[in-house]
Amino acid sequence: MSLVAEAFASQVAGKVPFIHVGNQVVSELGPIVQFVKAKGHSLSDGLDEVQKAEMKAYMELVNNMLLTAELYLQWCDEATVGEITHSRYGYPYPWPLNHILAYQKQWEVKRKMKAIGWGNKTLDQVLEDVDQCCQALSQRLGTQPYFFNKQPTELDALVFGHLFTILTTQLINDELSEKVKNYSNLLAFCRRIEQNYFEDKERVPLRLA
């Protein structure tokens, strides 16, 4: 998350990502998808009811497992917290605010983890969950270009967002990205989307060394 965006978010008291249309601000994936749909563009119109149910279920799986694992790794793994997250989160603020806010955020995240039952999980268990999730996604994708038919849907966007972030963000230990790299069809999927949709705006190339 870019620091400018975080600062903006904390001022507007909304969440990133958001889109700004006229005098409307819509934030978070779900509402943005609804908003765009209301304007007449939708990716999942071609799906039947059962497929829509599956798509929603897989989106929840990604939110449940990948997102929570990312949060865990950022805020509950002591090594990562100390080296990277604290300084990155507190960067825009002067001392002592940077420390206070970082600790507060860490405390909040730990509370949330405990409430959903992840409080006692070790890093290995979290990585195993991520592996299971990736395995499920990989099996669902199979040899198809996208998750449903030949057209990308919201699920493809969500999965791409998470996997790309995991693969390109450098952390202390690379175990998380290693888990994802085990699944070649997921890698090919990310590459394909990057090439088809982002190649004119090359920001961080996908390093697969």
């Binding site: 009811e49 059962v50 149910a53 599956e54 409430a115 669902r140």
Partner: protein, 353 residues
Amino acid sequence: MLPLPSQHPHCTWPSSSNHVMKTEQGGGGHFRGTRGRRGGKMAAPLELKCWGGGWGLPSVHCESLVVLAYAKFSGAPLKVSVIDNTWRGSRGDVPILTSEDNIVSQPAKILNFLRKQKYNADYQLSAKQGADTLAYIALLEEKLLPAVLHTFWVENDNYFNVTKPWFASRIPFPLSLILPGRMSKRALNRILLTKGEPPLYHLKEVEAQIYRDAKECLNLLSNRLGTSQFFFGDIPTTLDAYVFGFLAPLYKVHFPKVQLQEHLKQLTNLCRFCDDILSCYFRLSFAGFSPAGQDIVDANLQKLTQLVNKESNLIEKMDDNLRQSPQLPPRKLPTLKLTTADEESNSFQPLSP
């Protein structure tokens, strides 16, 4: 106390059923028969501690019900003990499976443990169906669970009239004043921490959102189930256990505030799904009320008869009083004798503007 599941009458199921034990032993046969043959090889008895049942269900607690259902589907012989030592319960550790020196606590972990012990309900699923199972379980936990927790523990009418008395009656005295409150706070906490993020600040908005999500989730489940017996064909699997565990308490428990229950009852295939599982796998509970349910009915009946008796006694007393009091001359009620002219004018009156 609930009857132990091992004493349940068997459920006849098609011979290509999911009992791993059957395929290993190489023969068809009754549930009880194969278990007996397997019994000699079994390593250690599996004991499950969970919350008890009511309203025709083997357990009123969602997670306990998931584990019980899965054990039935996979043929795992569980010894169920209804707990009343509930310091574990307040920390969210119920249901707990103990086997020799292994203690396993959350439903996902318990199911994994059972699978490792070769009690697997999913072995006929393809890889893609296994992936679908994970996805749908995530959907249940994200979209349906907050609303179920809210209906049981946070909605004031339901909590004070149904949930709290039920749980308090199963907890020893001093704890019964504290623990239900603690469980309620934990549920509220969970809802707010996972769903109450900006831009939803007010509890009312969070409530509206979670009920919307839950109704959508129920619709999705109903679409997915369609007209088939279970979610993946004719054989119940882990996903069926989870769906049953979450839906059955919502379906069967009688609540004062019932908006989600009403919605569920309109989705007839989901109701049929719950009833089928109850009648087939938990036959004793469904067909003739569980003993706990029967006790409740008897107790209610007793109370009702007592009330009626009291009322009738009161009425008798009033009658006696009336008879003994000094008689007043009967009032003469003015008798209406309409003359023909009056009748005519009376009949025309309604028609006049």
